[in-house]
Assembly symmetry: C2
Homo-oligomer: 571 residues x 2
């Protein structure tokens, strides 16, 4: 690969060859290591043309999300490094300012590029600098409301924002929404006060380059509509761009993919439990914000196609839409990754909890997610949800518990959030007809008089392992499953605190405001002489890498908890 | 006033007379008690026509925000009650499901109506019920991204959602955005897959009623564009709808208004401090999300018209736009009410803090806001902000401190949030050239060996008053200003905890996860034998009413703190 400076020195006729090379590089990379795949194949020519036409990194290129930016990374000096993408010693799978001057703005969540680029366009205008700011946003990303907010403001300001609307009819799944199906989004952009150019074939460099030159030289906020094909140039991915959005390693000639991990996943367990719930509860409907596969709702939709909504990358709308359904007696289950539900914090509070509407939130990818890194860790949810009145907040420790908690949520007839992690579940077969649990009831799982280890969700396993280790050191550590971060099981926790006077909380969550916070607040009132050690993530963002290493470094794996508890008990 | 059933029995020719009556009623009400005013004058005919054409409450009428719904309230049996609006014994200033069956969905924050009504339309379709769902959204409310998300999903679903687009060119201030200025938003709505009707004169019942009948009978998602004048029928408000959005009581014949409270307000102090900051710091720019008056940025804009951005009701965009500016070396100050910043939780985390960009957040209306009630209390901010790595979170106790903290934020070159309450500030004259404070440094304000009272922001005053009261009971209570909820002043708090062993935290914020949580987490590590009493709001939503009464009922006024501390020390 070349670098953008060298790229711009090439004669235009050489670019198709470069595109061929880059595409083959991306296919080889995907075949070897898997990962996000089809999106970047669709933007090979676009990435080349953008760097060819714009004076990067002086001109600011703001890619939305980042799934589609591997080509951009390869073109900006990170071709070799991509073999280690998402590993602790490699580049991020998304965009990061600290990684390259060519990554003008970090990304990971969708829909931010227009706002960021508009800020940069205004910065250039204010500074009197002849620097261009370009947002590259997909039709999927453009379903996020904040993109609309940014476009509306751009139309108002009239600044020289440049938007490339990368229209491939896909988010991860097919794009939701009127805009993506309309023969032309021109009317919408023009209504907002933007100049509209296109559509142009995003794989035809002869057409694309002059179109981008038009965009570069346009005055006022302008959008170029580029049509691309997700998966372009790799036949299996062209045929099934949804299935090839992300992939395991594969055979580049046949497209045969290595089997994924066969262990039962939390996502699968949730889909299974939700399917059973929907079978017995006709009022239940399910909602995803453009993640039918990631949340398991695609499985549910196969069984109940009329009862699953994909609302687009629109978490805010997802939650208030659910509230509208709940207000009329339906039972909506919003399945949204923990990190993406942050987008709907206000709607959970204002539209669901304040009206005490029975909406169930299922937060997948809670805790540290490993390779996807800091934009995707779900490590704030216990804290931001626990402060909301009326909302119950729970985490199952295994699949059986998950099914029971779903049944509990249905019976509770109130706002209810469940979080569970990425990856493999323990393998506890759920009951055919799970009985609801008592709201706010945890469980004492192992007795022990010296100290009580309190886990929630995945960290119950950690508590068991730590208890085993402490036993070898002659310390009798009780194991408790808090299960609910709200309401916490006061009886259970008070009894444990009274028994040993020492409580250790363990959570795959920041150490502020989560389970530890809940236990501290309770015991300050109820057992003030008890002492509490909070094991949670330190107050910093956790980079991408291996999840087990992340747990270790954060001090929440069993070995760390053992060591910290021992030292603490001796102090 | 009549009720909707009786209204629908009237001959159409009587409606203009009813409109005249209703308008006069609203003018009399405003003259007598003040409050939100111009919005409802603009929807007199619309409210009548909606109840005339639709079979309310069977048909679901979802008003956005609620500022404009006083006419609707009067028409639905709450005419007399409106004299007590926003008082504890009267109706809400917004919409509440628990208040009336005609309030199909609660409101307060903007942009939620489309999503909620779409949920209701789907509920009707699922249930096979011939019930219509109507969202009434202003061109201001429609600048909120979630409204776009809802419209986009509606176009995709094709369900019978009905939208009244109440176009008056105003949010509270003039509406921001391309859409509001375009000669027709038709293109945008049609691109999204909605049928478009109008525009129709929203004050001409002869035109409005057939248009709403068209909307009622339309199949598929449809929007009726209605043009109205905010303040219609009261000449001073027609001339200055922005100035009359909300009002103090006035003389109905002359329009002469009673003077507002003359005490210096926190908002004014912020505007003053920000103006001075911008005078000495050329990189500083200010951003409001459609609240130039409420945040005091209108004052700043008079001095620096080119350095204040109004982005529309678009908190998400506001924050990421600020991040884009900050990435290029500018120093943006986002002035957003505490309750509305909830909308941008994810953007603060993902776009600002993760990239450690120096964006300053100024949260006005933090704490209990009194009459505006549960949709508007800013009582979650310490908790949802404190968990975000890299972000500093502070609250000034007076105007001098506010100016110093702004200077501190500028020097800190990192994400920084300041919160301050609604209403009158103590009156401490700020310095002409305020010196930055040390980051994370609180202040010991009064010594005392029996117990330490820790306040933050407004509750420092409460701590002083409580200390005075406790002294009379022979208890020597130290007073501390924590100032920072993050990073907390470890040295100060540890020393106080070591001295007396007893610490009382006081905050106008939920008792979970805020200042109390921060102190508990610190002392659990540093002084585990210390005991802490957390005085904050109980875990329930606080209704509208008098702010002082709300403090009393929540147990965070000085008398309650004295009583609680005495009992706690004796226990």
């Amino acid at each position: 690969m070349t670098d953008p400076e060298a790229l711009r020195a090439l004669p235009r006729r050489c670019l198709p060859h470069l595109a061929e090379e880059l595409r083959q590089e991306l296919i080889d990379l995907g075949a070897e290591i898997g990962g996000h795949f089809a999106g970047s194949l669709g933007t090979v020519e676009l990435a080349i043309a953008l760097h060819y036409v714009f004076d990067t990194p002086r001109d600011r290129l703001v890619w939305d999300v980042g799934h589609q930016a591997y080509g951009h990374k390869a073109l900006t000096g990170r071709c070799q490094a991509l073999r280690r993408v998402k590993r602790a010693d490699g580049p991020s799978g998304f965009l990061r300012r600290c990684e390259s001057p060519y990554d003008a703005f970090g990304a990971g969540h969708a829909g931010t590029s227009v706002s960021a680029a508009l800020g940069m366009a205004e910065a250039a205008r204010r500074g009197g600098r002849d620097v261009r700011a370009v947002a590259v946003i997909g039709d999927g990303g453009a379903t996020a409301g904040m993109a609309f907010e940014g476009l509306n403001h751009a139309g108002h300001l009239g600044s020289d924002l440049k938007v490339v609307f990368n229209d491939n009819d896909m988010s991860i799944a097919p794009t939701v929404g009127g805009l993506s199906r309309s023969t032309s989004p021109r009317g919408c952009f023009e209504s907002l006060g933007l100049r509209y150019g296109g559509p142009v074939d995003g794989h035809d460099l002869e057409a694309l380059i002059p179109a981008l030159e038009w965009l570069r030289d346009a005055r006022g906020p302008s959008v170029l509509h580029v049509r691309t094909h997700k998966g372009k140039g790799f036949v299996p991915a062209e045929r099934d761009p949804y299935g090839w959005h992300a992939t395991t390693p594969f055979d580049a000639s046949s497209g045969a993919r290595n089997a994924g991990p066969s262990a039962p996943s939390w996502t699968g367990a949730f889909a299974e439990a939700l399917g059973r719930l929907m079978a017995r509860e006709p009022r239940a409907v399910a909602i995803t914000a453009a993640m039918p596969d990631g949340t398991g709702l695609d499985q549910v939709a196969r069984r109940f196609p009329e009862r699953v909504y994909d609302v687009g990358i629109a978490e805010q709308h997802a939650v208030t839409f659910a509230a509208g359904l709940a207000a009329e007696g339906w039972l909506p289950v919003c399945a949204i990754y923990s990190t993406f539900l942050q987008r709907a914090f206000d709607q959970i509070l204002h539209d669901v909890a304040l009206q005490r509407l029975p909406v169930i939130f299922a937060l997948d990818r809670a805790g540290l997610v490993g390779p996807d890194g800091p934009t995707h860790h779900g490590v704030f949810d216990l804290a931001y949800l626990r402060i909301i009145p009326e909302l119950a907040v729970a985490a199952p420790r295994d699949e059986r518990d998950l099914a029971r908690l779903l049944a509990t949520a249905v019976r509770a007839q109130r706002p209810f959030a469940l979080r569970f992690p990425r990856g493999a579940a323990p393998g506890a077969e759920p009951e055919a007809d799970p009985a609801p649990l008592e709201l706010g009831r945890g469980e004492a799982l192992r007795p022990g008089d010296d100290v009580a280890l309190v886990g929630i969700g995945k960290t119950v396993e950690t508590a068991f392992a730590a208890s085993d280790g402490l036993r070898e050191a002659g310390i009798a550590a009780a194991v408790l499953d808090a299960r609910f971060a709200k309401p916490v099981d006061e009886g259970l926790l008070v009894e444990a605190a009274l028994r040993s006077g020492r409580v250790v909380t363990i959570e795959d969550h920041v150490a502020s405001g989560g389970l530890g916070g809940a236990v501290l607040e309770l015991l300050a009132r109820a057992v003030p002489e008890a002492q509490v050690l909070v094991c949670g993530l330190p107050d910093r963002f956790v980079d991408h890498g291996d999840a087990a290493a992340q747990w270790r470094e954060a001090g929440i794996d069993a070995a760390s908890v053992i060591e910290r508890t021992r030292r603490w008990l001796q102090s």
